[in-house]
Amino acid sequence: MPFAIGSTYLTHLIVLTFIFSIFAIGYDIVIGGMGQFSFGHQAFWGIGAYVSAILVRNLGGPLWPSILAAVVGAAIVGLVIGLISLKLRGPYLAIVTLGFAMIIQIVIINWKPVTHGWMQLTNIPHLSVGNIVLNTPISCYYLILALLVLVIFLVSRMKASRFGRALVAFRENEDRAISVGIPVFKYLVIAFTISAAISALAGALYAHYIGMINPGTAGLSYLWTVLIIVLIGGPGTIGGMILGSFIYILVPEFLHVADIYRYVIFGAVVMISVIFNPEGIWPRLVLLWERLGVFVRGQLLKQAKE
């Protein structure tokens, strides 16, 4: 809770964590949900950021309809990329989506009249609700938390639906999924499109929250960020996405004491984490919690018998 944290900077980091959680939940529909790879989601995040920022800042559009337009725009791009590339699997899908994302980034770099290229887009208007401008981390906190909760709710509903279960069937065994009549290609394209839309929502929020973006916002570093968050947290789990975002944002902050060595140490943390715990941290925590439950119940039973 922001009033309990009492530090603007820490609140700022937690707001960032929420935004990256939304991004990771969107990305994980492909990684954990479909069991496939995309190396192209930084482009959807970047499209979300740029479209919304340009609509509001350059064209004076209203905030929320612009964010919606950015989400729809990225969904359309995701749909097209999905239709073209979702016949491929595994590393090939990863590389073809990477190719599309790089092309999108190159367009952003060179379309200078609109995007300003590497000169950055600055002074992007803040988030607002009605006439209230949310220009501090604390004022954005509840808004972004609410959106995160909304995304979690919608994605959980999707996962529990017939469609979500069909995706699980595909992930576990593609041939069997086809043999029971699941229209695999169509479902993959839909899932990919939803995933692109959620990533774009996160990107748009990021642009308005931070206030400036550059072509790097649609670049590889954001792909590596979200990949690390999803894989450390635990693909296929929503709790893992939030946990992964906290680790990604907060661990390098705590490593500030290590000064210039902090990203070296963080790289080592990432590596050690995956080598000793390839399933991700969240499933491990859930398992521990369940074991603790069994243990406690066992003890209670023992006491009851005595």
Binding site: F37, P91, Y92, L98, I103, P235, V264, I275
Partner: protein
């Protein structure tokens, strides 16, 4: 048509392409033999250029001593790369996903350690041939570009002899062709994996060393090269060594000619488009036979 300018761009393109080829061979071998994508491969390229700079310029030793020393050192880094970021994860249920993360972590470690050691600045590898200039019919070729062709051709011929004439080379080519088949005839996959990573390190380093006098090099040079490596490997087909060399040259050439005829800004977008088209029409690459069935699944 300005034929001199075109010829000049052909030379630029082929010399860049030579470095791309050397870089991509290792990426292709590792991907083909072990079935993982090494996201730290770009850092091996970067280390090659910077270590050659360190030995040749900072320590003031001979340029060629720098080349050999950097290649050997990066081969060792390649072996370490395999031992800590690939081997522990092979055979686990989601090995590909896990090795993405592990090699990404390693790449963060290498990049940021390099920043600590050398700073963020770009460095230029000084060669003894910097002042050399050969003019052939109006075309001018600078010393460092000539060295790319000379050293690159020597390296490729040696690589070819190694693969076709030596026992280890044949074992390696066989494993790249079919790892199951290689296992059946008694080739130890573990040793091949190690060897592939060492060779990949040395060749990526050589690519970095050859481009360092022209493009300069810094701790961040690895990422963009990794992308070019993906293009070459995908278009050529996994594990095809000669294919990677031919496509490496071709990618350098088409990038350079596109820069001349169309636009400098969209040259890399052009080669990514080629990659996407090849991937969709011929997913196994241009240099591998057989259908797409086992890749589309």
């Amino acid at each position: 048509m300005d034929w001199t300018a075109i010829g000049q761009h052909v030379i630029f393109g082929l010399s860049n392409g030579m470095a791309y080829a050397l870089f991509a061979v290792g990426l292709s071998l590792v991907w083909g033999i072990i079935g993982i994508i090494n996201l730290a491969h770009g850092e091996l390229y970067m280390l090659g250029g910077l270590l050659a700079w360190w030995v040749g310029v900072e320590l003031g030793l001979n340029y060629f001593v720098g080349i050999i020393a950097a290649m050997l050192m990066v081969a060792v880094v390649g072996v370490v790369n395999y031992q800590i970021a690939a081997r522990p994860l092979l055979g686990t249920p989601r090995a590909l996903l896990a090795t993405f993360l592990a090699t990404l972590g390693l790449s963060m470690i290498i990049t940021n350690s390099t920043v600590i050691a050398t700073g963020r600045f770009a460095r230029r590898l000084v060669t003894p041939y910097d002042d050399m200039l050969i003019s052939v019919g109006g075309l001018q070729i600078t010393g460092p570009r000539i060295m790319i062709f000379v050293i690159g051709v020597v390296a490729i011929v040696l690589l070819h002899l190694f693969i076709t004439r030596t026992r280890w080379g044949k074992m390696m080519a066989a494993t790249a062709e079919s790892s199951v088949g290689a296992l059946l005839v008694g080739i130890d996959p573990g040793r091949m994996h190690l060897f592939a990573f060492a060779l990949a390190g040395a060749l990526a380093a050589l690519g970095g060393i050859l481009l360092a006098p022209i493009w300069y090099t810094s701790a961040f040079a690895g990422q963009s090269m990794l992308l070019i490596g993906f293009v070459v490997v995908i278009v050529a087909g996994l594990g095809s060594i000669l294919g990677a060399i031919a496509i490496g040259l071709l990618v350098g050439l088409s990038e350079s000619l596109f820069t001349y005829f169309v636009s400098m800004h969209y040259a890399s977008a052009f080669i990514f488009t080629i990659m996407i088209v090849v991937l969709l029409l011929k997913p196994r690459g241009l240099f591998r036979r057989g259908g797409a069935s086992n890749i589309a699944k």
